[in-house]
């Protein structure tokens, strides 16, 4: 694992430190060290986030007077079909793509546990995460062009009526498949690292008892990797909601956005505010972002609650 994750003893500082000249000198340095980062963080994260909350109750086009409209923005979202499908798509990515990603990641982790060449496999399946999401997404779209690679393979397999992958109705599923592809590499790597820390003698003991692969997974691997699973779930909830570039690339033309059928909440928030053709609707964008934030908070709490177990020492 990363050098940074080496377990550190809780008390790295000597107890007698407080009051010593060293401690006092350090006290004086504490503020100058922390303040720049804190100032930037407050100015660029905290203040704008609060302002976005305020904006979600207002009508504003970026300049001129701010008009207070109460819950109007939210009411409009409630009746907006595009918002509904954006929300639905976000949930579909969260749950559908998440389920498949974790299913494959668990599968790959189990197979890779006792396989030769696992480091190489890990390096290859992780690579889409380490290069440009933008370029990977363009490449993914290209696989599904009318006479692209996917259809060529289908024809080879004897399928004559190939699907129109990039049609408005299908585009989102193509995007979802791409997300599963990219993220499986990421979460397999995380789970693998956790499984690597499980001592081999536990498996040897299980073998002696005649445990089946499933029993070994259920009673040895899963309980001991549970912490990593919990963190991965939280990580997924947060990052899934943020996904933007991978979808944005599927826009047809310059400066425009993809078909609304493929929108997620992040696309919606961007398009409402920055779409070059339409007027800037900052209020609606801010309200959609508030929904996103609530979703993130609820999901983070929920995954924590669901995955909470007593962590096992080994």
């Amino acid at each position: 694992m990363a050098t940074a994750t080496v377990e550190a003893p809780a008390a790295v500082r000597p107890a007698a430190e407080t009051g010593s000249p060293l401690a006092r000198a350090r006290q004086r340095l504490y503020l100058p060290f922390v303040l720049p980062a804190l100032a930037v963080y407050l100015l660029v994260f905290i203040v704008p986030s609060l302002f976005t909350v305020v904006l979600s109750f207002a009508e504003w086009a970026g300049a001129g007077p701010i008009e207070w409209v109460g819950f109007d923005n939210y009411r409009r979202l409630w009746y907006d079909d595009v918002f509904h499908s954006s929300l639905l798509n976000t949930l579909l990515i969260l749950i559908g793509v998440g389920f498949l990603t974790f299913l494959f990641s668990f599968g790959l982790t189990m197979v890779l546990r006792e396989m030769a060449g696992r480091k190489f496999v890990r390096a290859v399946i992780f690579f889409p995460n380490a290069v440009s999401a933008l370029a990977i997404s363009i490449l993914w779209g290209f696989l599904f062009q009318a006479d692209g690679l996917a259809n060529a393979l289908l024809r080879l397999a004897g399928v004559d009526t190939v699907p129109r992958w990039l049609a408005d109705d299908n585009l989102f599923y193509v995007i979802c498949m791409g997300l599963v592809w990219v993220n499986t590499g990421f979460y397999t790597t995380i789970l693998m690292a956790a499984v690597d820390r499980i001592p081999a003698y536990l498996y040897e003991a299980a073998d002696l008892e005649g445990a089946s692969p499933w029993q070994k997974f259920r009673n040895v691997t899963l309980p001991l990797m549970w912490d990593a699973v919990a963190v991965s779930a939280t990580l997924w909830a947060i990052s899934a909601i943020k996904i933007f570039e991978f979808i944005y690339v599927f826009a047809g033309a310059a400066g425009s956005v993809p078909t609304t059928k493929a929108w997620t909440l992040s696309l919606y928030a961007y398009a409402e505010a920055f779409q070059p053709t339409g007027e800037a609707r900052y209020g609606a964008s801010a309200a959609a972002t508030m929904v996103t934030l609530v979703l993130i908070v609820v999901l983070t709490l929920l995954t924590r609650r669901v995955t909470r177990r007593e962590s096992l020492e080994y």
Binding site: A4, F33, P48, V111, I125, N129, D147, A193, I296, V297
Partner: protein
């Protein structure tokens, strides 16, 4: 071991299929970048009949990649430097000094990891345009540094915490002040963590899309991701120069791929950090 269950064999086949798929996609990208549009579709995996290097030249020129790459390199370098300069002292102080606020502040920074860009982009855009910092690389750098802070602090506090405390005490006994201890003892010790952070930062911003779309709307200021997006649009309008598009994608991906081949383990471990203990 002779205990490898036979049942997992189809699983292995599947793993290798996935690996083969990833490698084939890469191979296909590189081969296609040397082919004519017709050839790309007719024989996806055949070698190009004649290697069309002019795809690369065309992609480079039409997309104006040259200046875009220069801008991107400047932005990425300044961002990484700025991030380290601001985050490293903060992370050091938060992880090694005993104060009442260090715990809560560390959590406050970590909270930023969950805040999506959408939540800050509107007020930030308005504020930056009033300061005249939209359509300027300096403005983009400021935004990048700021949005890098939560992860950088989170990453580096974990790293500093893992370093032994003895050296700090020894330095103090030898009469080094805390500032000198930080600069001459702790920073060099943390070098590998800092390097990892810089690599991740550079990879993340090399083709960052959302913020550059918002803050660089002037085509003469475009960075690499915007140049690629514009080129993609142009290709679709002007009679399908697919070979050129593949060359353009290759130009964007190749530097990252080389870095990945060179520093793969470190990148993987850095990106999946936080999932460990």
């Amino acid at each position: 071991m002779a205990t490898v269950p036979v049942r997992l064999r189809p699983g292995r086949l599947l793993v290798w299929l996935v690996v083969a798929f990833d490698l084939l996609v890469l191979l296909w990208l590189v081969l296609s970048s040397f082919k004519t549009a017709r050839e790309i579709f007719a024989s996806p995996f055949g070698l190009p009949a004649d290697w069309r290097l002019d795809n690369w030249a065309r992609a480079w020129e039409v997309s104006e990649f040259g200046p875009a790459i220069l801008r991107t390199v400047a932005v990425v370098a300044a961002t990484a430097l700025g991030t380290v300069l601001i985050a490293a002292p903060a992370a050091y102080a938060l992880s090694r000094f005993t104060t009442r606020t260090s715990g809560p502040l560390t959590s406050l920074f970590a909270m930023g990891l969950g805040v999506p860009i959408q939540a800050i982009m509107l007020p930030l855009f308005v504020a930056m345009s009033q300061l005249g910092l939209v359509n300027s690389l300096g403005g983009l750098i400021i935004v990048y540094v700021a949005t890098s802070i939560p992860f950088a602090v989170f990453f580096l506090t974990a790293f500093f915490r893992s370093l032994p405390g003895d050296l700090e005490e020894a330095a103090a006994i030898d009469g080094a002040g805390p500032l000198r201890t930080f600069w001459q003892i702790m920073l060099p010790l943390a070098r590998s963590g800092l390097v990892t952070l810089v690599i991740l930062n550079v990879i993340g911003h090399w083709s960052e899309g959302l913020l550059s779309l918002i803050f660089l709307q002037d085509p003469t200021q475009q960075t690499l991701p915007l140049a690629l997006l514009n080129f993609m649009t142009r290709v679709q309008y002007s009679g399908a120069d697919w070979g050129g598009l593949f060359a353009a994608i290759a130009i964007v991906i190749l530097p990252l791929l080389l870095v990945y081949i060179w520093l793969g383990r470190r990148i993987i471990e850095g990106m999946t950090l936080g999932s460990g203990k």
